[in-house]
Symmetry: C3
Subunit: 397 residues, 3 copies
């Protein structure tokens, strides 16, 4: 029989009962114990699957999927997580239009939830809207459950919003933990979350924000670097600063990529759009001002082009701790000479880190499954042990 | 162990063996016993789910879904029903174009059915086409099964056609039954199925037709109200009239919303397009006459605007039985000052009935599941008892 | 208990261990034993299903579906096969654009495969691209598995490419085997794979190529007939010629439909586009030369129209062996006077063969399931016996 105790013992020492029947919207809404429990369950579910043991906890049930933008990685991760637990994915196609409010949200949220166990939402296009929409949906189904409309209360999972991208940052963090051999080894390590040049425009802020909002909780030095004008949301910087203080780490800001890379243990160079510009774009969309949107795009691309030197080069990598910091990216990356003429990262750097990058991405499905699992199991330790004990093969060879 | 006898005893007294391996296309094709059996099974499946008992009767199998128009409510209800019984939904995307006939229908029907247990079709856009198409598909798979092409014969479920919307009207009826504490309490009650103003155009007739065609079977007075010119299909009115006579109820028509609301126990105010106009539109589409379609739309919107006083107001609600008739709608409703400037219902009325309206919608998935269940189980009582006895948890917490 | 020995005994005499954890891309990549094993497993899975025994070998897992073109038959066959074995279909929508290469393919292949057990790809639009893309995906996931990125290595199934259409030709072949009462009865039989006129343009070559590449392995005479200029890929003709020599059959070519039909036991009249023209079209697409594409289309339709006499008529059918050759088609066929004015086949011929044609199509889902099964089961005989022994009902009535 499988040894699940390595995982359940970790859980035994943690307090995470508030996760039961609850959503996962922002990592900083969760306690340190809850974050740790999520990693433990993700690893446990992975262990089950790698040992060909089914972790279906549902014989039927729906995982609603609402993506307001194209997505391959997150969509497949969500579908994989749902399937791993026994849920069928059902897409809700609302298009890319700005989201409805009030009555429409309340009604739709209930109409899709009569047999929904989970609702995964990706809505990162409009500043001030995505996370707010998720909360509106959450409140609607909460009320629906209280009113006796919904037999069960579906769990909301934030698959990327305007503020945070918790399934990404949690997957990234689990990659870091495994890479460094445990969370206890991270104290004092330096992670550089830095802007990098991309020939495309309007990349979401939720990745850098998610990274600084989460990585600042483990006693590391989080160095946020970007050209002037590429500021992220002030509120999230505040979260990062407070987290750093509490965890005995540091949160620093710089306008120099070199400074951030200097002696870093981990580097995460990635393009994003300035928060202020994204706010402006949101308003232009709300006004239906296409000319303004086009003008803004031109302006932003021109501004980007002033910072082509923000590239993760071999030379820069040499300045990191031992010359071999862990290079990270949420993928796809803009690779110089491969996917574009000039981009975020030199091809030889990317090549060298391809396998770890793919592994990094591989954590996401398990993180999502863990978020669902912890929301759906009142006693996760008992359920994990039962799954291991049942020994039901996932794949009967 | 769960008490399923409350449901199976009801079934024991009913004759519904003709439902086995049969379709559900129009409620008036079904006997009173068959309608009653559907309600009983819907309630039984709900009872199982609410007690966390799996009602999967399929280990594998497909539920084909063919929607010729956007849909959220019905699509999710169908997906939920399929999932509840263990079937995977597979979409057949034929677009919104007018439907093929003859060889193409016969061939496609067989090609999608090699492992299909159910085919759900929504096709309400063209008068004279939707239901006819469903029957063509049904005959094709019937023949395919006889010819040894299809190992099993998929069940057709009408998810809305040009004539009837049986999953809607059956869900609505089950809501009424539960609201009034049993079908035996409905004799002599009055239900007002009335037109209401909407700023949009071309809403299908299948809801009012489905309502008068079904609700007239329970000894109630069904009052159909609409402005002159907004007549529904004459054939369905005939069905309603005959049903009313047989059941000891009444079917009345009026051009006054006030008259219909007067002393009503139930009101169902909802916009629809005139049957004659929809027939005209169907012909214009067949001719590809876009100018004609546009002209007709303008004309119909203008005609609609003459009847803005057809609104379900608080004042009108006061005239109903005890001032508190059960307000019903298939959703989404056009709510005055909320989803439109002037609409079908005053916001305060809608607000007051929100919870019952959501509950009304919640019956649909179980109704669809019951239709499938009765078509797929030779001995539904035995299967229900076995499911309850197996005690397989749907959701292992 | 079900008698599975009729199938497992066949398997006992065959060597097919190389199919385990392997892809199915071209029939001529497979040995005769491997082809025979696929038919045996397809028949076994069908026997299980027809006896209402579940053949789920997966409790969870994804079957990724990547279709670069609309498809109903193959899509439903793939979905059916996946569902039969317990996998959920997850679509990857890459649109119809020409396919990316290198980094993008490698990355996407891994990103979709963390929990994917199968990847089915249909990509037949561009000469020199479809099969090459599948091999790139296969190499990427192979490498990903070796690198520890992918826990399991998904199986690639070719659902139609520019070269071969193995799930079609294998289904067709199984139909032939069953029609003639066993593969041992095929020696010396004549099959005419002939071009036929169609008013549409650009039909893929993979069907005739797949047919001559596979049917030439069973000691039959394969006669390939088409008007001058409608040559298929030379490489595949070579395969067919070599196969024929090895199997003691014949591979002949002619520009006369009458000659091919003469005394044929099986006829497969079907339109396709000339290989040279398809190559030209691929280049025009690569150049984005829409004017060139339009001109080529005109030219090809005009050329097609010179060969309206290439129709499978009653008169031609009379010249076949006993006047009753088995008429085959991958469907949908262009039926004269039914789906078009002048087409591939006379309506009365098609009518007479409708039931066998539908049955022919019905083999595909089982063939795909068998391909997956043989790739996923180390000991297929043991698994088949276990499934039969378990007696788990697919459909609990």
């Amino acid at each position: 029989m499988l040894n699940m105790e390595q995982f359940t013992k970790k859980l035994d020492g943690l307090k995470f009962d508030a996760m039961y029947q609850n959503d996962f919207l922002l990592t900083w809404d969760k306690t340190g114990d809850e974050i740790a429990a999520t990693f433990a369950v993700a690893d446990a579910l992975r262990h089950l699957r790698e040992n060909n043991i089914s972790s279906r906890i549902f014989k039927s049930g729906l995982a609603v999927s609402l993506f307001r933008d194209n997505s391959t990685r997150t969509r497949f991760s969500y579908a994989s997580a749902a399937n791993l637990l026994g849920l069928a994915v059902q897409d809700l196609d609302e298009g890319k239009s700005q989201i409805a409010h009030g009555e429409t949200v309340r009604e739709t949220a209930n109409m899709i939830s009569f047999m929904a166990d989970v609702i995964g939402i990706r809505d990162d296009m409009y500043i001030g809207k995505g996370n707010a929409y998720m909360r509106e949906v959450a409140e609607s189904v909460e009320q629906g459950h209280k009113d006796g409309v919904l037999e069960q209360r579906p769990t909301l999972v934030n698959l990327q919003c305007d503020i945070d991208h918790p399934t990404q940052s949690m997957a990234d963090m689990n990659h870091i933990i495994h890479h460094f051999g445990g969370v206890e080894n991270l104290k004092g390590k330096k992670i550089a979350m830095t802007w990098a040049y991309s020939p495309s425009y309007g990349k979401p802020l939720s990745v850098p924000q998610g990274i600084i909002g989460l990585m600042s909780r483990f006693g590391m030095e989080v160095s946020l670097a970007h050209p002037k004008g590429y500021e992220v949301m002030g509120d999230v910087e505040k979260v990062a600063a407070e987290n750093a203080t509490k965890s005995g780490g540091k949160f620093t800001k710089t306008n120099s990529m070199a400074e951030a890379f200097e002696n870093a243990d981990i580097v995460y160079p990635k393009s994003w759009a300035p928060f202020a510009a994204m706010e402006k774009r949101t308003n232009l969309y709300a006004e239906g001002n296409q000319a303004g949107i086009n003008a803004l795009e031109k302006e932003l691309l021109a501004e980007n082009a002033n910072h082509k030197d923000w590239e993760c080069t071999e030379a820069l990598m040499k300045t990191t701790k031992g010359g071999n910091a862990l290079y990270m990216h949420c993928l796809p990356a803009d690779i110089t000479g491969v996917s574009c003429k000039e981009g975020e990262v030199e091809a030889s750097v990317f090549d060298r880190y391809r396998v770890p990058l793919y592994k990094e991405a591989g954590y996401k499905a398990y993180i999502i499954a863990a978020m669902i699992f912890l929301s759906k199991c009142e006693n996760p330790q008992a359920v994990l042990k039962a799954l291991a004990g049942n020994q039901k093969q996932r794949w009967f060879k």
